[in-house]
Symmetry: C2
Amino acid sequence: MAIWLDQASQDFEAKFSAFLSTKREVSEDVNTVVRAIIDDVRARGDQALIDYSARFDGIDLAKVGIRVTEAEIDAAFAETDRKVVDALKFAAERIERHHARQMPKDDIYEDAIGVGLGSRWTAIEAVGLYVPGGTASYPSSVLMNAVPAKVAGVPRVVMVVPASSGKINPAVLAAARVAGVTEIYRVGGAQAVAALAYGTETIAPVAKIVGPGNAYVAAAKRHVFGTVGIDMIAGPSEVLVIADAENDPDWLAADLLAQAEHDAGAQSILVTDDAPLGKAVEAAVERQLKTLSRSQTAAASWRDFGAVILVPDLQAALPLANRIAAEHLELAVADPDALLPGIRNAGAIFIGRHTPEVIGDYVGGSNHVLPTARSARFSSGLSVLDFVKRTSILRLGPDQLRQLAPAAITLAHSEGLDAHARSVAIRLNGLPLDDEG
Amino acid sequence: MAIWLDQASQDFEAKFSAFLSTKREVSEDVNTVVRAIIDDVRARGDQALIDYSARFDGIDLAKVGIRVTEAEIDAAFAETDRKVVDALKFAAERIERHHARQMPKDDIYEDAIGVGLGSRWTAIEAVGLYVPGGTASYPSSVLMNAVPAKVAGVPRVVMVVPASSGKINPAVLAAARVAGVTEIYRVGGAQAVAALAYGTETIAPVAKIVGPGNAYVAAAKRHVFGTVGIDMIAGPSEVLVIADAENDPDWLAADLLAQAEHDAGAQSILVTDDAPLGKAVEAAVERQLKTLSRSQTAAASWRDFGAVILVPDLQAALPLANRIAAEHLELAVADPDALLPGIRNAGAIFIGRHTPEVIGDYVGGSNHVLPTARSARFSSGLSVLDFVKRTSILRLGPDQLRQLAPAAITLAHSEGLDAHARSVAIRLNGLPLDDEG
C-alpha cells in the first residue's frame, strides 16, 4: 500500500515536505575501494583489467581478449531474435530522426561596430559508453546513449560492458551493431571507468564517459570527473501521473508498476482530483502485482515509495508537480493542454491517455536518459548537446579595439590587474610600457 | 624562464606528454572540514552562518544583518568611481546582447505518423551566484555570471559574497546593481554554499549554484551537487598564443603576462614557427615583469608553467593546440582563417593580432567563464544554456500508439520488463491482463 496524502488535510504541507525529502537510495560508501581500483588501473593498465575481470566477472581476459571481436558481434547479432533486431532498428531510426533536430547551429556574426563574435560547436573526439552487465543490461539504453553520440558526429564511440558470468547479453551487442558502435571491450565496474578515463595498452582514453551503472561505477565516474566529462549520475526511476476521474484504473496501475518494477528504490506517484479513482488504481495495482514476473521488486517500490496525492482540482496538482520535478510526468487528463503551460520542472512529459511513459523508454524517439531525484529543477535529459561543446569566437580589428579598449582598461585597473590593462593599451599606441604600468 | 620544447627534437613527444599532464593545482583535502560546515548549516541555519562569519570574516552578522540592504547597495554604487560604473554598464550591455542570441528555441513538431514530439526550454527557478572576497572579488565576474542568468529568465538570482575583513568590494555591489541582482547576502565559504543548497531561515534555497571560489567553496559545490546543480569547477587560467614571426614581441609578452598575473598556477604558452620571435618574447616578458604590480605571481607562473613551443610550421601547431585544449587561444598570425578550421578543442578563440584575450575578459560580449585544465575537450564556457533546462514532450493518439506498440512490447519483453509491456498492451485491446503478463 502506497501512502495517501490529501491536500485538504491540515498537515498536508508537512507531510508533503517530508515525502519530498525521502531518500530512496542507500548511499554505499565505496570510495576507498573505487579509488584503489582506479589507481591500480592507472599503474598496471591491461593487467589490472585482467585481474579484476577474473575476480569480479569470472572471465579470463588474457585468454578471450579484452576487446570483443567483430566475429563475436556477428554471432551475437545472428543469435538475437529477429523480432528484437527489427524492433531495435525501428527504435534507432526514430531516435536518430528526433535527435538530429537537436544539433545546435554555429552562430558567427558581426555586431554593430564590426566586432566578430560567435559560437562554434564541435563534437567531442571520443566518448565511452558504460553498459551494465546482468539484468540491468538493457539494449534500449545502448541506443539511447550511442545514437545521439553518432548524430553529434563523435568520431570514436567506445562501449564497455562486463561479461558477467563470462557472457555478454547478445541483444546488447546487437544494439551496438544497430547503433554503429564497433569498438567494444568486455570490462565493467570502476576498472572500466578508469580504463576509459586514463587509457591502458589496449584501450585508448576517451574525453567523456556516459551511461548508467551501479554504486561502484557511479563513484568511479565522480572520481574521474575533471579528467574526462561525465553525464549525470542517475538515481532510481520515477513517474508522476496526473489523472482525472475519466481513466481506466488498470491503465494507470500498469504505468505505475512499469516504474516500480525497475528497482525497489523506484517511485510511482498518482496525483488525482478524484478519490474513488485513487482507490480504484490502488486496487488495480494490487491485482496486477500478482501476475508480474518482477512483482517482488515492484511491490517493494510501491509499498515504500509509492503515493496517491489527492488534490481539490487539477490545477492544484501543478505546484506539487513542480516541487516533485519528476523524471517522467504523465498527463492522463481530458484537457492536458490546460495543464502543460503550468509545468516548469519535469524530465519528460507524456501527454494524454494514449501516451504511456513506456513508449518513451523505447520507440518514441525522445531519449529515456532523464534527470532523476528532483534534478529536473536544474538539468535536462540526455541529448545531442551532451556530445558537443561550444568554442566562443572573438575577432577585432584596430578600429574595434580602439572602441572597446577604454572600458577594458578601466575595468582591468579597477580589478588591480595591470598586465591585463597593458595587454590592451600596448596595442593602441605603441608607447613605452610605463604609460600603463 | 619558461621551458622550451622543440618539435624537431627527438624527445619532443615524451616531453610534451609530460608537460600536458603537469598538475598546476595543489589539491588541498578540505573535505572533512567542508562536510562538517555543511552539516552544521543544515542543522543550525542562520546561527551557523553568524558563527562562521564571525570566525572567518571577522564580522558580526547578528548586528549588521545577513542580507545586504538596498541602502548599502545604493551607497556602494555611489562610492564606485563613475568611470568604473560606466565601464560596467558598457560591458553588461555587450554581454547581454551577445548572450540573448544563445537562448534556445522550443521545438515542438509532429512526425510523419502524427506522433507529437518536442523539446521545451524553461529557466531554472532560482540560481545562486558565489562571488569570492578579497583580491579575487572581480566585478567583471559578477556580470559574466549574472547577466546570462537574467537573459535566460531566471526569476530569482541570489548573490553571496563574504565581507572579508568586514567589507564587501563596492564595485562588486555596483556590478550587481548593473546586472539587476538585488538579493545579496554577506556570507562566503562552504557555509554560503550550504545555505544556498539547503536554505536557512533567512536564505531560501536555490536550484543551482554558479561562480568561482577557493578550495573550500569548490569542495562544498561538489558536495551539494545532486541536491542542486553546479557549474564547472574552474582551475587556474590558461592562454595559448599561436604566433608567426610578424608579431611585436611586446604585445605577445603582455598577453602571456595577463594570464600569469592571475595566479601562480596559471599557464601561458607561446607556440611559434619562429625561434627568434620566441626568444624576443621571452626577453620582453622579463622586461615587462619589472613594472608589474603583481610581478611576483606572474613571474612564478611563467617560471613554473610557462612554455615556448617551436613548431616547423603553423599547421603543426594545430594538433598540439587540440591536445592542450586551452581555455583561451590567441591566433596572432597573418592568416588566422587558415588555422581556424583545424582547431577542435578550445574554450575561446581570439582571432588576429588586434584581439587580445583581455577584451574577452571584460567587454567583448562573450563569456569569460571558460573550461580550464584541458576540459575544453568535453565542455563549454558558461552560457544561457547553463540557466535553462529542457523538458522533452511526447504525445500519441490511439493511431500512433497502435503503430509504435509492437516494437515497444517486443523490446520490453526482451528486457524482462513485463509491466512495461503491459502498460502499452493494455491500452491496445482492453483484453484481460493475463494476455501480456
